[in-house]
Subunit: 126 residues, 2 copies
Amino acid sequence: MTRTDEKVSDLPRSKRVPYTPESAAQGVQNVIRVLEGRWKLVILFQLFGGRIRRFSDLERAIPGVSQKMLIQQLRQLEADGVVARIVHHQVPPKVEYHLTDWGQSLCPALDALLAWAESAPSEMGS
Amino acid sequence: MTRTDEKVSDLPRSKRVPYTPESAAQGVQNVIRVLEGRWKLVILFQLFGGRIRRFSDLERAIPGVSQKMLIQQLRQLEADGVVARIVHHQVPPKVEYHLTDWGQSLCPALDALLAWAESAPSEMGS
DNA sequence: CGGTATCCGGAATGATACTG
DNA sequence: CAGTATCATTCCGGATACCG
């Protein structure tokens, strides 16, 4: 496994396409930045599978989140093109959120991370 | 693409294995937690491909990092079982870092994230 | 209902100096 | 060389109050 003529899949994209190790790290960091935040992943998992939820739905579905945080993370996800926002101009106001196609396509990558975590050597306890 | 009888791969693991959407989000958050930190991914990309680097190598290879942050993030990655540390008892001191097998196996998952980012609808500018 | 505005505390990061 | 210790700063998230 530590051969020098290693498999291509053992090397990151940075070694296969015109990316330096630094820019590749940068690229992944950008992704992490999109995903990080106390509530973003929770929101995403509430929306995966094409589900559409109102602001108040999310608020109720995510115990402990404040309005400030919920709207903030939703806005960031929206700015990043992961989540879409639909405003129904009516009273009382109604705003719905759902994943963009691109946001939905994040699912397999997240699964890969989950699978990686599950493949841990089983001594992780700290 | 927005059918209701969606493909299995359109749903996260939480819908296929005994995980709730919440615990699935929790699982991914744990992974993010391992990966987050201003310098961790940079360190990882310096180590991918079975590379072994000394502390000072990393310090030089990662412009802008302080000794404090470098050692802190290395220690955390080590505690999480991603990075291994080899101390050569000699003077001057020599300490080498490399990825564990498990850490190396993170590469494909990161590539998936990178691929996802590259598949963006091309309006991301904010 | 779906937000905004403001204040606050703790954690993460950075700068700098010192050490085995 | 490979760290540790201390202090300063910046950032993130929580609490609360108010608004169209």
